[in-house]
Structure formats: structure tokens, C-alpha cells
Symmetry: D2
Subunit: 372 residues, 4 copies
Amino acid sequence: MAGNSFGQAFRITTAGESHGPGNVVIIDGCPPGLRIDLDEITADLARRRPGQSRLVTQRKEQDLPEILAGVFEGRATGTSIAILIRNEDQRSRDYADIKDKYRPGHADHSYDAKYGFRDYRGGGRSSARETTARVAAGAIAKALIREAFGGQVLAYTKQIGDLIADVPEPEKLTLQQVEQFADGQPNPVRCPDEAVAQQMITLIERVRKEQDSIGGVSEVVATGVPAGLGEPVFDKIKADLAKALFSLPAVLGVEYGVGFGCATARGSENNDVFVVEGGAIRTTSNRHGGMLGGITSGMPIVLRAAIKPTSSLPQEQQTVTREGQPTTIRTKGRHDPCLLPRFIPMAEAMVALVLADHWLRWQGQSSAQGAQ
Amino acid sequence: MAGNSFGQAFRITTAGESHGPGNVVIIDGCPPGLRIDLDEITADLARRRPGQSRLVTQRKEQDLPEILAGVFEGRATGTSIAILIRNEDQRSRDYADIKDKYRPGHADHSYDAKYGFRDYRGGGRSSARETTARVAAGAIAKALIREAFGGQVLAYTKQIGDLIADVPEPEKLTLQQVEQFADGQPNPVRCPDEAVAQQMITLIERVRKEQDSIGGVSEVVATGVPAGLGEPVFDKIKADLAKALFSLPAVLGVEYGVGFGCATARGSENNDVFVVEGGAIRTTSNRHGGMLGGITSGMPIVLRAAIKPTSSLPQEQQTVTREGQPTTIRTKGRHDPCLLPRFIPMAEAMVALVLADHWLRWQGQSSAQGAQ
Amino acid sequence: MAGNSFGQAFRITTAGESHGPGNVVIIDGCPPGLRIDLDEITADLARRRPGQSRLVTQRKEQDLPEILAGVFEGRATGTSIAILIRNEDQRSRDYADIKDKYRPGHADHSYDAKYGFRDYRGGGRSSARETTARVAAGAIAKALIREAFGGQVLAYTKQIGDLIADVPEPEKLTLQQVEQFADGQPNPVRCPDEAVAQQMITLIERVRKEQDSIGGVSEVVATGVPAGLGEPVFDKIKADLAKALFSLPAVLGVEYGVGFGCATARGSENNDVFVVEGGAIRTTSNRHGGMLGGITSGMPIVLRAAIKPTSSLPQEQQTVTREGQPTTIRTKGRHDPCLLPRFIPMAEAMVALVLADHWLRWQGQSSAQGAQ
Amino acid sequence: MAGNSFGQAFRITTAGESHGPGNVVIIDGCPPGLRIDLDEITADLARRRPGQSRLVTQRKEQDLPEILAGVFEGRATGTSIAILIRNEDQRSRDYADIKDKYRPGHADHSYDAKYGFRDYRGGGRSSARETTARVAAGAIAKALIREAFGGQVLAYTKQIGDLIADVPEPEKLTLQQVEQFADGQPNPVRCPDEAVAQQMITLIERVRKEQDSIGGVSEVVATGVPAGLGEPVFDKIKADLAKALFSLPAVLGVEYGVGFGCATARGSENNDVFVVEGGAIRTTSNRHGGMLGGITSGMPIVLRAAIKPTSSLPQEQQTVTREGQPTTIRTKGRHDPCLLPRFIPMAEAMVALVLADHWLRWQGQSSAQGAQ
């Protein structure tokens, strides 16, 4: 029972490696009639694409999606959708090092322990390149939640190293505020606090020069989500969102609302107060991050994910060979000194996939309600 | 597509409410021949039982499990196992308040938004009473991983409020160190740092007198787990463990290894170094918390979960009625001023369920390996 | 990955053996608000109950269901429903024969080969007693399809031995016509062709006196089902209905519409002609049995299942012991000389479960259609 | 919850239409290390390919598979495998008829009722062209069961119209006996009874000249399957095999062993007698078709599927338009006058997929058996 599917009612299944022919996703359960805009898919792929700025890896990929099935005259037919993103930059390289040595912080050793052997070219299936398939599917999930209930998902870089952005009202952010500076120039770190963003850029460049890498935190906000999404008791929306984010490479922690800050809180201060605003029940604060009892409350969903510094380093690191002999390794060539800029569209995709899935699950069960 | 099942190869399905006849779990996929020890199930249920100390809710429940199916002559038959834990203390109460008012921090409003109505008696399905079913199944999962690969799962209270236990080598803890003080007396907070444990007890008692509640952090450690568990790319072991813990009531954050601390780390310091010890590949540190690439590395798994302060408070809180009218509410009677002591066996159960499930999933796929 | 769950959106999970404490079913996904009528569940259980007539096994069971969870004030809450049917007649018997010898036509040998050992008391999990759980859940599925779209499922005995009932318009049958003779007396074979029914009764009694058993065919008809149920390409409604019926004990064949008769047909005669009647698209004949392309067509669904003669026989049969020694076996005591009468409610339950499941699956996917 | 996945431990997910870019399958759960032979995949695709003889449709397709992922140096990596078969012959046609009229016996009306619209080009997803993906995956499943336990699956044409082949020992058939006549010439109907095969050829040619089509029956035999496959109580092997075959286009009936013949049988004659042969427990006859209690018995598995005559006919048929107006339709151009020859590899693929899946499921659960 391998684990290459995600979701139940809106379900994706993916395949693909770093240096194979390409990555493919099959989406099952997309509502018939939904408009599928190839440009939207391409746009999100461009946000996670290597080579988009000098802060990220310089691997050359166009990442142009080809729809193989499930779309007719621009709309989902209701049957399964397949999208292929071919790998282009499979440059001939010397993989001898990766083949025989275990890169620290990587999946090399774990894969060998699990499968007995591995596709060592660029990390194979453990490479973040597999997230192209997720981002392509996520673009369709975004379209679905937008059309179905006006939902929107936006992520941004909250923290890199000690630099923490000040974003007091994340639920009011726009995509443009994340993607561009005020002067219209691209914001390569995707941090909407411009002053901090400039410091982040400087930090990443310094880290890269030092042949090192640096971690960070991303915040993801989903707005326009109605109260009612989430399935007790195991598929609570918080549980599926956490799984979604933890399934991404390099994520070491996830929290929502007040998160780990709840440990020091009293109940009397932590409980958000219900009020009625404009006819709708809301809370005056959002320490609960939009989810109560594992079900959306109608308030914005606010999540944070901690991303570790890239494990691949150009500097020499100690390790062992497959046979257990001590050795050293140095990852040549292209790598991301900080994963945050390219993590943003991945996080958005995974959150959108969960919301699309739970929306359809909810509709299915409650559809017969009128009948009683 | 409701969400009352968890796991795939070792799969549990549960039903039950706070004040219905009882809670039941069906376990599907248990290996035939596994010894099922009713005492082990009862022992873990006793650790989550209300009334076990003066620090927890005083609801009276025996929580004695009845095995309905799937066990013959003390061993699992390989077909589905069913266990029933009846509710006993369904005291006749005045639920008028809960019926018509939304308790702050609770699922009342979310359930109404989702289902249109709810079983308001004691929270119904949103009550933590449903975790009896999980803990019963978790005891069997613990037996499975112990017999299959010598695995063990142990949780303890790491933090309550500002009080943080000093447990330098959590992978060496014993159940006795968590459950008892050095003098053999029960440790009601399940914190193995005795000095801090005493302060925690004092804090919880003060909080209770103040008609308030307090949050905390639990650390969960799994030892003896071989390298190789976890299914790329969505069912990474870290993703399923996070979902498992987030599916428990009151969990607002989960991290593993260095967790959110990775945000400020450099790759050169964050990567754990591979070495060979006693013929096995290990790492000299465990910042990766026993999981690399979403697959176990053979090092101890170390997770932490943040638990919010109990939402039910005896003190008056502002809220609204179902009809949206402002009102106040005061939760009468029994409640836990701090959830940590009873959370410990729940966390262990969920982690054991994930390990049992992934073990069987792995064995299934790799079983044909010898054939090639 | 054991197989004790069925369905996806309306999903049941069962446990229980012939001579354990009881059988339990958890239903996940039932729409909130659905009225749950304990009498309806009890009534269907009574139709499959042993001892209902002298034609069936005389085991004494009340088969009274207890709802453990998921129902509040007579309605489904939307969370999981659990129902328990206790075994009462677990008379102390000498199982030595069954324990050590493989009954011909039974699962004894297969279970041993699969699991290494088995609960030999009355067949354990392989006993048809497990269908109590299915029938209880099926009664709720029947209520759901009735409330949601006016659907109805009815099965009857079409054939026993060479005796074939003449039922020209099965889609017009009523439950009463199946359950009672024209004079109001119970029809113990559930065959609405009274003349043939009387012959069937005579045949079954003769077979029983001869210490033998006899097979037959059941026809199942579902009416009021809208066009549109069924999920390409694997979960075609015909595929899930066939699986549902084949999952019942003793079923050796399933066909729908013209069934195996299609082998000798020409396309020009086999195709049903579309016409418009009363504004709806229908076919002038129903050789397609209500399903085209694996999706319901709006015409009545007509299925047939072939049931083998009971394997347990009071007469002596040749076999081997667990150790492979030749021996003979004679099944003592109670058994059904013909399975058809008690098969009828089982077949109805399974068909109703599939229709309920597919209805909810369809609603889930198509719920967002209005949004585009 | 759409239905484009099949299997659990060995799980395939497919997408693709008749006239879209191509068909793709993702296989999840393939054991790592399994040799993947592109020639084997291509060979089975050639057996289902259009244009292979003058008895089948003359659509021109090479059906050459491209492996997109999951295979490294000729072996399965253990992660997901993706295979693409592009459509080549998408000749520009006039689809006006199919677009606006409902073809009798086809899924056109059902798809419209379900999804609101459809890809009408050549039937879209309802076309049997989607089975390319199944056959490609089935070739890998065949390799798996061969390597894992020496299993083999072979199907042949048992009946077309009134012509019934005499194949007394189907478990001894070879692929060559099905594919070729004794003189080495290809056998275009895949019926190993040469005399009957010649009559079948004549019949199909006559039917085609009459602008008509004809049905038939295929028998599928699986040998070398150990006792123990199948999961009580819903995923009985007979239930999953029946679903597998019923999920194929045009299948109206499935039976195993004595099948519908059981209706007229007495238990005393129907029960197969257990004996020991060569140290193994076997039965002296195989009326049970290799499955008892829904679990394989170690005897050959013997199934039959009834296939309806092709619905597409060059002769004029009455029908209605989408708007419900009476009209006539005549399917132009290429079609199969009899589906049997190309059905054979599809049936083999589906049966092999079920056996591979259940083998892995069984291994997973029983892997821990040694531990107790």
C-alpha cells in the first residue's frame, strides 16, 4: 500500500522522479463542468519553477503542463484528468557520489533501507521535483474552491532565519502583495513585508556565498471558507491540513492559530468569543485559526509550517558510504540556499487540495438533507 | 465520506458519543495469531480514565473493554476485532445551556454549521470520550509493534504553562518513570522530571481554583523502530504521525526533531552526520527526529504536540445562542483543568497505530522482494 | 489490508462470528437528519432470522439490534452509527469434528491456509451469521434511498432446483407479494408465483428428509433509481452491485438484464430502443437491466444471483483432517436445506448499500455544478 | 468520489479517452526490484490492439507504451509507475450524430444524465479504448504473480453465438494454444478448439456483412495460485474478481466454477471432495472454481464472463436526440462485429490485477505471523 494518492473525493495520484521522463498527476473526482484554465496551471508552476530568480536553484525547466485527459472544450468532464510535466534538464552528470554515499539530511539511506535500492539520479522520487504534479493539481483545486464557495488560499514567507515579517492581517493579503514589491518588481522571497524581505534577500545571498543554507517559516491563509468543512473524528480539517503540509519535503513543524503559543495560555484568555456580525456568527479574535472541533468555523484559516535549511550543501560534509565506510560528500552544482521562495506555491496547492476534497466530501453527505 | 476510520493496513473505525450507550472500535487487518491481552487494553484505558486523580475530571467511568469479535483463545484470528467500552456515568443533567448556547472554544457551532443539528449531551461525538476507542485499539497496536520489531511508544508531559521539564534523553525513559515518582507514588501529571512535576501539580490546582485551565506540550518517543517505515510521497511517516496527533482534540501544533527550531538553523549545523555504530548506520545527533525523506531512519522518533487549555470553564464567558443572541455561559461541574495528564495515553495510542499500519504496509509491498 | 469494510461514501465496517458475543456494524457517512427507525431494522433482521419457518435452520436467535452510537432523538447525527446484534444461541457443542476435519464446500481449509488457524465454532467469521450486520445496515440504506430519491429494492426467489417462477413484471412486485401468499399466510420461500412456491416448499422438505440441500436463483429489482449512478471506469454500478452480491456466502454467479443470454444475441435485437415517455427518456425494453456504460439508465435495475446448495449436510461425506488424513464428516444438527428464503433480505441489503453509496458519491461530485 | 482507481495494495489509477491525447495509468504499490519488461507490456497491448485481424475494428493504433516514472535500470523502484499510451488515429470526423443523438446500447444518455455533458468523440471515457491502460498495468501484474508464486492467467473465447468450444481441461491451456492454430497461423478469435474457431470466424464474418454484431462468453483460468488469497467478508476473492470483470465494457454476467449450474444441484453432488495429493490438500473435482469461502483453495480459478454484442451498428437503429426527439442513427465506419477476440487480454489483465493485489494484501497482514 504505497502512498502516492492524496484526498478522497477530490483525489490526486502522482508519479515521477527528478531525472526520469517527467511527472504526471491524475485527478479523480473533479466536478463536471469546471473550467480548466491551462494558464492558471502554468502560472502556479512558474512560481515553483527553478531558475525564477538568482535566489533559487538554476536548473533549467520550462515546466509546461500537457493535459492528457479529462478536459473537453475547456471544461472538466467529470472523469479523471491527467496532466504531464516533462523533465527537460536531465543533464548528463556524474552521480557516482550520490550513488554510493548517503547525503546527510537526505532520504538516500532511508530509501535504501526501505526498497533495497533507489533511483539515485538527483534524488529520484524523493526530490522536490515531484511537487510539480501537486502544484498543477492544486491550481485546479484553487479554481474549484473559488467557483464553489469563493475560497482563496495564499501563502507567504513569514520567517527566514531570525528575520520575521510583520504581517498583522494576513487574511487581507493579495497575491500581488506577495509576488511583487510596491514598485512592481518581482519579490523573489515572497515576503510581503518589504523591509524584512530586503533583509531576507541579503541573508540568502550571504548564506549561499558561505556554501550554506537557511531555514524558515511559511504562513498559509485560506479565506472565504464556510463553516462546516472537516470530518470527525480522524479526518478533522486540521488533521488533513497538517498531513498535507507535512507531506511536503523539509517540513518539520505545523501549527495553526495560536499554535505552540497555546501551551502557556489560560483557557479564559485563549477562548475566542462568539459574536454575531452582519447576521453571521464569528469570533472577535482568531486564536483558533479558523477551526474548532476539527471543523472550519467560518473564520480565516491560518497555518504555519517550519521548513528546514536545504540539506544539499556545496561544502564538504562527513558521512558514510552504502557499505558503511566513513567518507565525505560535497553536493556539486545547483541547489536552493533557502527553500522558502519555492515552497510558497507548494503549500498553497496542498491546502487548496484539502479544501476542495473536504468541500466535496461534505456536499456528498449533506446532499440528502433536504429529503427528510 | 465521513472520517471515522484511520489507517490502511491496520485500520480502525470508531463510533460513540459522550452520553450515548458506549464507544466501539473495529480493528481491521490485525495479523492472525497476535496475542490480545485484555489487561493491556484495560491498563491503557485506566491511564486515560476520568477520576484517576484529583487533577482531572471526576466523571465516574470504569472503562472496562468488552471484546465482541475477532479474538479466539486469546489470539487475533486475522478477521476484524471489535471492542466495546460502555458509558456508565450518563447522569441526568440539565443540558439546556449547551443545547442552545455555543460554548466558546468548542465544536458546538461548527457541528451545527456542518450537520444542521447535533447531539448536545456532553459534546456528543466531539467529546474526548471518543478517544476511549482509540486507546483500546492503540493497546493492540502497541502489542503488534512490540512483537513484530521490538517497537515501543512512550509519551510524557513536557510542558505545562511556563513549566518545562528537563528530559535530556527521552529515548531512555521507561513507563514507570512517567507513571510514578521515585517513591512509587503515582505521578498524576506524567512528567518524569519530578521537581517540575511537583510545580505542575501546584499550577494545575491553582488554575482549577481560579476556575480556569492551562495548556501544555507533550513529547512522544518511539524507539526500536527500524529504518524503512513511511510511504512516499503523501503518506510520509511524518505526515501520518502529524495527522494522527492533530486528529486528537485540543492539539494546535505538532513538530518533530528540532521542529520549529529549524527556521533559524543553517544546513551545515542542522544536518545530522551519518556514522556506523555496531554495524548499523546511525546519526551522531537526532535533529531529524528519526525521519528523513518521510521514512524512518532507525533513530528514535521524537514528536511534540501542543495542547490548548480546556475550553470548558466554570467561570462565566460571553457567547451567543444558536439564534445569534448575545448571552453568557458557565460550564457546570466536572472538567479537566489541564488536558495533559490524560492526553499522554491518547498520543501513545495514535503513534502506535501509525507505526503498526506502516509496518504492515511496508511488509506487504516488500514481501515479494525475495522473488526476483 | 483486510476486507471488512464496504462502500465509500456510505461505508459499512463489520465484525462478528457465528459463536462469539455478537455482530456489530459501524456505518460511516449517513446523511445527518435521516430518520432511523429501529422497527425497520428489526423487521429486516426478522426476514433473515433462523427459525422463521420449518424450511430454515432452527437455531434460536432473537436478533434484536441495539444502536450504540450515531443516532440522537431518532435521527442520524451524521457521525458514525454503530449497531450491535448479540448472539444468544451459543449452545455448548462438540466442535471436535469441525476443529480437526475440513467440511467439504466450506471455508475451513481456506481459512487455515490463510490465517494459520481459525475460530472453528460454527464457522467463525465465515458463517452467514455475519450477514446480520449487513442486513441491519441495509435497512438504513433502504431508508436513505427511499427518502433521497424514492428508490426501492426488492428480491425474491426466482428458482429452486428446476422450479422456475414466472414473474413477468418483477419491477411491479410488492414486498407483500413476496412475503405472503394471497390468503395472508407467510410465504416461507419468498417466491411470488404461488403455484411454483408450493412446489418449492415440497421440494425443500423432500431434500431435507433426504439429508441433502438444493440451490437456486434469486432475482433482485431496484426501482425508482434515477439515471446517473455509477462511477467510470472501475466503480461502474454493475461492477459494485456484482461485488456486493458475490460478497455474500454461496453466490456462484451474477448477471443483469439479459445476462448470459447475451452470448447468443445479435446487436440488432439486443439493443434497447430509446424513446421519450412522459417527458423522460426510457427504453422500450429492458434487456440492459437498467445500466448502460456502467451507469444507471433510469430503467429498473434487474439482477440475478445463483446460490449453491448448502455445503453442510447431515449425511456422511468424505474429506480429510487438518493433517491430511482421509476421514468422513457428518454435520450434526441445524442447517438450511435451501439458502434462498434467508438469502432474500441479504441480497436486498447489499443492493441498497450500493445504491446509497453511489447516490452520495454522485451528489458529492456534482454538488458544485451549479457554481460554474 | 469518482471511480478511476482499482485495487488496494497493488493499485492502478487511469485516465484517458477515445480521442484525447492518450491513456495513462499510474501503478502504486509495485514491489521494488520487480523486473519491468517493456516487451511484455507491448505484447499484451498488441493482443488488444485494433486492426490486428480483419475480424476487429480497423482503427489504426500502434499502442506503444512509454514508461514515464517508477522504473530504474529495468526494475520497479517501489514508488509509483506511470505508463502512457498515446492515441494516434484521431481522424477528423463528423461527430454531429453522436453529439446530438443517443446511440442505443451505449453510455451516451447515462453520461449526459450523470455529468450534464460529455466528450462525445468516439465515446470519450466510455470507450473501450481506456482498457489500454488496464492491459499495460495487467502485464506488470502478470509479471508480479509469476515471480511471486508462479501464477499464470489465461483467457480464451469459450462461446460466440451458439458456437461453444470444447475445452475439457482449461487449466492445461497454453498461451500458444489460444493465440495460434496448430499450423502456427494466428488464431483471430482466440478459441483453442480449432474446429469451433473456424466456425466462429465464419459466423463473425457473416454477422459483419449483415451490419450486425454477436455476443459470446470468455473463460478465464488462473493457475499456480496458492490457497489463502481473498479477504473476508467483503473483499472475497470471488467478489473482487467479479467486480474486475464487470468493470469491463459489455460484460453482462460473471460466474465461477459450476456457476449458474449450481441452481439445480444437490449439495451431495455439488461439494467437491478434499483429498491429499502429493502432500497438498486438493479436491477431486473443481465445481467450486478454486474459491471456497471467498478464499482461494489452491485449485485452478475458473471464471466465465458473458459479453454482449457490440452496440454500435452500421445499420439504422431508432433512437432519440438529446432533446428527446425521435430519430434514427447509423454508426459509421469502424467497429468490432464481435468483442470476444479483443476482450481476452482485457479479462486476463483484470484477473491478474486482482491476484497481484490480494497477494500483497495477504503478505502484509501475515508478515508478522512469525513474530508471535
